[in-house]
Symmetry: C2
Subunit: 188 residues, 2 copies
Amino acid sequence: MTTTTQTRKPGARARLIAAAERLFYAEGIHAVGVDRLCAEAGVSKRSLYQHFGGKDDVVTAMVQARADEFGRQLTGENRSPRGRVLVVFEALDRGSEAPDFHGCPFVGAVTELKDRDHPAARLAREQKNRLTEYFQAALIDGGARDPGLLAPQLTLIFDGASAHAMMHFGSTPATRQAVETLLSAHGM
Amino acid sequence: MTTTTQTRKPGARARLIAAAERLFYAEGIHAVGVDRLCAEAGVSKRSLYQHFGGKDDVVTAMVQARADEFGRQLTGENRSPRGRVLVVFEALDRGSEAPDFHGCPFVGAVTELKDRDHPAARLAREQKNRLTEYFQAALIDGGARDPGLLAPQLTLIFDGASAHAMMHFGSTPATRQAVETLLSAHGM
DNA sequence: GTCGAAGTACACCGATCAGTGTACTTCTGA
DNA sequence: TCAGAAGTACACTGATCGGTGTACTTCGAC
């Protein structure tokens, strides 16, 4: 029960994951070494290798942590079906304006890792499916025509908008307009 | 005139850029060292530093080369306005099916470099603008309503489709359908 | 009070990183 | 033919890479 029990101060593992989320996203996975990671986490190198099998394992745990947060955000509680779709793009718009925005962390991880079979890449891929399923559920609730087609289209827009924001330092009104056009084309 | 004159065998510079296009795309910019790059190009390390200021300079030249090829492909000759839009997505669909597809090289470069002011990142950004302008010109020719809004939306779909193909090993029919929906929503 | 788990400090490993210095060869154009 | 440009071979730099071995400390539970 040691892992689930609440401790006063965050353990080495948690601090390493937090530092990995920050550094790998801001500077890149290959650009940040384990020495640097440990230093920023305030954790000894020895501890890293007691909690993780290696750097790749830290990367996987970091993506897993991102996935957990993503799942937690993906509720759309107290919203209409249409609102549950739009809330995703509103959140992206907000995030895009931050000066340290570097695109979708899941797409970024796969881009850097290249290896499609990397455990972290598998996790990242699952998050895209999760987003599409979230959209689809909202679309079904809203009575949209062909939710199975519209849902992946919204994920397409999401990833395109992420890329745009990364390349051009901010969001574009074209995103919202595209979502509206696609929604109304499907009677929603 | 030495640089513009056609020589029998490709020089060291050209071979380095060709190797850089291949290796940096397939394995990542940070994952490929200069020794490795020179070995694959069949060029001595000394020659690299005679032609380029450093690795960053090679990266920039590689993105420039990609940009030149991109511009050459972006003609859409002998096509209807609508066809000039669709040909872009047909080309992406074809490229997406390759097992060594890793998404848009321009987005990938910016993702890896992080630094928005890097010369290669600037070049990459310009290519996105170029694509949007290409779309806009075709849309104007086709008499679309609000080409200034629709064009960036098509670029959004393009980048979303690239990301999807990288994450899921191939294209999706949702892309084409989304393009059709947006086009017809703008009377084209 | 003591025992074990958790964590730290730090030196160390071979490999690779980007980049340089020096001396040699190979090709080409006048 | 011969000068100069283009390129190669290779040793070498200091820094960093991911990862390990060993000995020490800190701290909470029983």
